[in-house]
């Protein structure tokens, strides 16, 4: 592990091309211990792809990934459990690691779903399922948590609660978190560093900096950034509907 600077994973100018089309290009970022990095951007902007590159899913990427830990907890964006496989919450908790009952109870209590431990996954609501997935990811006390829209389907108050929990966890476990969200507002308070993606890095910085950025406003609309931006920079490109960059 690179101890001096606490870096867990570092992406150096990475990109991925599939079927002659760049899914994402020129992304550099790093996740450090105890820090939360949030990727935001519209649909198809390459957020999940970037996270998967960081996880090492793709072999034929441009640039390189430096990974300094293998203890990773992951909440994928989409997970559908086949009905042919009978699975209880408890079975899911034990999926990748053999955990003691105590640890399982503790994690489920943290995300507020301890009472569902013996329930079948097929009977959970979307929000409950997300909480279980989050509990599973944190239960093995990972160095790096990769959370791909971890609060989808959770109601608004629950959403804020869970983001607060994620923030708490990053401090308590001293783990780094790579968080994906499509909404800056709810993650604002919990985030140390924001990377705004749209096929490439549009802008990055602290949440308040990004909120003021004109590219962010162009992507999410004026309303999305409640604070009036003082700083503005010139656009040298536009995006086509599929997110491709076109020079003006």
């Amino acid at each position: 592990m690179s101890i001096e600077n606490n870096i867990l994973v570092k992406l150096n100018n990475v990109g991925l091309k599939q079927n002659q089309k760049w899914l994402v290009q020129g992304v550099s970022l790093q996740v450090e211990k105890g820090k939360i990095v949030t990727l935001i951007g519209p649909n198809g902007s390459g957020k999940s792809t970037t996270a998967k590159i960081a996880l090492g899913f793709y072999k034929n990427i441009e640039g390189n990934v430096e990974k300094y830990t293998s203890n990773i907890g992951y909440v994928p964006q989409k997970i559908s459990i086949d009905w042919t496989l009978p699975l209880r919450v408890n079975d899911l908790m034990l999926l990748t690691e053999n955990l003691s009952d105590e640890v399982i109870n503790e994690s489920l209590t943290l995300t507020g779903v301890k009472h569902l431990k013996d329930k079948s996954l097929a009977n959970l609501s979307g929000g409950e399922f997300q909480r279980v997935l989050l509990a599973r990811a944190i239960s093995k006390k990972p160095d790096l948590l990769v959370l791909d829209e971890p609060v989808q389907g959770v109601d608004f108050t629950g959403e804020i609660e869970l983001y607060e929990l994620i923030k708490e966890l990053s401090l308590k476990l001293n783990c780094g978190i790579l968080l994906i969200s499509h909404d800056l507002h709810t993650v604002m308070s919990a985030t140390d560093h924001v990377v705004c993606l749209n096929g490439h890095v549009c802008c990055c910085g602290s949440p308040s900096e990004v909120a003021k950025n004109s590219e962010y406003k162009a992507l999410f609309g004026e309303q999305a950034s409640q604070t009036l931006a003082i700083y503005e920079h010139k656009h040298d490109h536009v995006h086509t509907t599929d997110g491709e960059v076109k020079k003006k």
């Binding site: 899913f57 994928p76 086949d82 009978p86 408890n90 899911l92 990748t96 079948s120």
Partner: protein, 267 residues
């Protein structure tokens, strides 16, 4: 004791039921029943090769099934045909080629019905050794790859992200599938092996709410099918393989009663 053909068939059947239960669960969970069928069909070709080269049948079937699995992977990569079409292509063409080769081998007398549907009279002591020793190896290997295989069955990306190497587990599982087909061909025959893998498992699904239970119930279902099937085969002089599978079907139908009850309870 093992001198009695019926006892030998029972011992063979028990061994196969223990292996078919857990493997069958993964076949159902991973939706591989047609894949299993394809491997089993190709086994006939393996038998003919074994006879013509005077080679061990189980080893020959195992090798041919593995080759067919590799060919399938290549075809999936290189053609635009859907998987089920490729599986049908391989299953029936290898079955056909196997039967054509048998036609050429006029100097050997084949019991084709026995190959297709199993023949308990054909189970000898050497087969028992292969079934129990091979079966133990299959189960030990499955135990070793259980975690990555199961995790990637639930979600491939999750298993990969957390460093479990799902591709290796999948490759090993394919080999295990070829292996169980190789060891169980004499008892149930090439056309019915997939039934032995799937029907007790389907019954178990109706009775279980978690994966461990499903594995245990499918082993129990397999054992009961072997007992009931073989005894009725002896009693009514019916072919062994179809009798075992028919017994499994009866158990499955009984398990549906339980499903009906649960649905009524829910309403």
């Amino acid at each position: 004791m093992l001198d009695d053909f019926f006892i030998r068939a029972l011992v063979a059947g028990i061994g196969i039921a223990f292996v078919a239960g857990p493997l069958g669960c993964f076949v159902v969970w991973r939706r591989l029943s047609y894949f299993g069928d394809t491997l089993a069909h190709s086994a006939l070709l393996g038998v003919t090769i074994a006879y013509s080269l005077e080679f061990n049948i189980a080893v020959s079937i195992f090798l041919i099934s593995s080759v067919i699995a590799l060919i399938l992977i290549q075809l999936q990569r290189k053609t635009n045909l859907p998987s089920d079409a490729l599986l049908g292509l391989l299953a029936h063409s290898s079955l056909a080629v196997g039967l054509v080769v048998i036609g050429f081998l006029t100097f050997i007398r084949f019991d084709i019905m026995g190959l297709l549907f199993g023949d308990i009279l054909a189970v000898n002591k050497k087969d028992l050794f292969i079934i129990w020793f091979g079966g133990a190896l299959i189960l030990i290997t499955l135990k070793i790859i259980w975690k990555p295989l199961f995790a990637s069955t639930v979600n491939y990306e999750l298993a990969e992200a957390e460093g479990l190497n799902p591709d290796r587990a999948k490759a090993v599982f394919t080999v295990l599938l070829a292996a169980i087909i190789a060891i169980s061909i004499k008892l149930v025959g090439v056309l019915l092996i997939t039934g032995m893998l799937i029907i007790p498992t389907a019954m178990a699904r109706n009775l279980s709410d978690n994966p461990q239970k499903m594995v245990i119930f499918s082993i129990i279902g397999g054992l009961l099918s072997v007992f009931i099937g073989l005894f009725s085969s002896l009693e009514f002089n019916t072919p062994s393989g179809p009798s075992i599978i028919a017994a499994a079907l009866v158990l499955f139908i009984f398990s549906l009663l339980k499903v009906k009850q649960t649905i009524q309870l829910k309403n």
